[in-house]
């Protein structure tokens, strides 16, 4: 059985969305965590090393970090494939973008939102405006991250793009708005909003 340690309207929502797309049974366990305003506390039931969400247990195996959880799920549950498997031609691209979301996109946009200067050659990520350029250029000619097939990338990166545009952390462009409309029209997105 899959248990997702979840808090509504946080990053763990994307894993709800993914589980709904995969159509596999799971339960959610709502946990509290430390918030930016100082309220909230870590839930001892949450196996995440820093008490954050998401974390996931699957038949005794514990995973943390969204991209790791997504990769585990898309490799294990393949009835409705949500990403290329090991050895398939698009696997390299899939892994690269999965790593790009938390390693580049998020730190770049959060650093800009909090006014942290970008130091070229020191940070492992790129300046936020460059990240926006790369995402716009990539999605201008593609329906989804991997081309014509929707994948977990469109949940992790796409969901992130949607929420960051809503919070004015990412510049709205016609390309990104059309893309966000495409992915959020999916029934599994609506199901996420109810969990």
């Amino acid at each position: 059985m899959i248990t997702l340690y979840h808090s509504p309207m946080t990053r763990s929502g994307s894993i709800v969305w993914l589980l709904e797309e995969l159509g596999v049974p799971y339960e959610t366990r709502i946990v509290t965590f430390r918030k930016v305003d100082g309220t909230g506390a870590r839930d001892p039931a949450n196996p995440h090393p820093h008490g954050k969400v998401p974390a996931l247990t699957d038949d005794g195996e514990t995973l943390f970090e969204s991209s790791a959880i997504a990769l585990h799920l898309t490799d294990k549950y393949r009835d409705k494939p949500m990403g290329p498997a090991v050895g398939q031609p698009r696997r390299g691209e899939y892994l690269s973008w999965l790593a790009y979301r938390p390693g580049v996109m998020e730190p770049a946009l959060i650093s800009r939102a909090f006014g942290t200067k970008h130091v070229q050659g020191a940070m492992g990520w790129a300046p936020a405006d460059e990240v926006e350029e790369v995402l716009n250029a990539h999605l201008a000619s593609r329906e989804y991250f991997l081309g014509k097939d929707f994948s977990a990338l469109d949940i992790l990166l796409g969901g992130g793009i949607y929420f960051m545009m809503m919070q004015k952390m990412m510049a709205e462009t016609p390309v990104l708005k059309a893309y966000a409309a495409r992915i959020t029209a999916r029934p599994a997105f609506a199901k996420m909003m109810q969990r």
Partner: protein
């Protein structure tokens, strides 16, 4: 043939080590990158979307970002035993540690380096002291991140700790110092220094 897009003394250097551990054939393509002092430029030959290193090309398949490259390579050369494969009970921890490197460890070091507080609850990462505490706790049960067996995750972490080790942004930890020594004493590490 796999090509590593590389610039000496940067984050791409650790992949020479991984290739040596894997015993896999590779070629190095040295590229220019932008640097802290304003010199250097994006090299048009580099397929990384931001002109950074590392990136690899495997007969035209491009992979970028260290955790992605590490996973791609250990899955491609499973016999080398440098990472648990799909279905192995250690696969979950392996994926978690690989992603945690890019999503938590690196940004945590950078927040400290820039002397800014981590926006808890907004950022996906935490303060470096918490990261070091968690890593040291895991290694106390060690000797490696996944337990008994050395993996590509140890290459990412030990090289990062070695890089930040002498700087004030790195909290002091004898457990981590011993870990770095253990990892970098491996013959493949020395071979990589020779090929760089």
């Amino acid at each position: 043939m796999i090509t590593l897009y590389h610039r000496p003394k940067t984050r791409s250097e650790r992949f020479l080590w991984l290739f040596e551990e894997l015993g896999a054939p590779y070629q190095i393509k040295e590229v220019n990158t932008r640097t802290r002092d304003g010199t250097g430029a994006v090299d048009p030959a580099n397929p990384h979307p931001h002109g950074k290193v590392p990136a690899i090309s495997d007969d035209g398949v491009i992979v970028f970002e260290s955790p992605a490259i590490a996973l791609y390579l250990t899955d491609k050369f499973p016999k080398a035993g440098l990472g648990p494969t799909v279905g192995d009970p250690k696969r979950g921890p392996y994926l978690s540690w690989l992603v945690y490197y890019g999503s938590v460890l690196e940004p945590a070091f950078m927040s400290k380096f820039m002397n800014v507080a981590v926006p808890v609850g907004t950022a996906g990462w935490v303060e470096i002291e918490q990261v070091i505490e968690f890593v040291a706790k895991t290694l106390s049960a060690g000797p490696y991140l996944l337990g008994e067996k050395f993996s590509a995750a140890d290459i990412l972490y030990s090289t990062t700790f070695a890089m930040f080790g002498p700087s004030p942004v790195m909290p002091k930890s004898p457990v981590i110092d011993a870990y770095v020594k253990r990892c970098t004493e491996r013959p493949a590490f020395a071979r990589a220094q020779g090929s760089a």
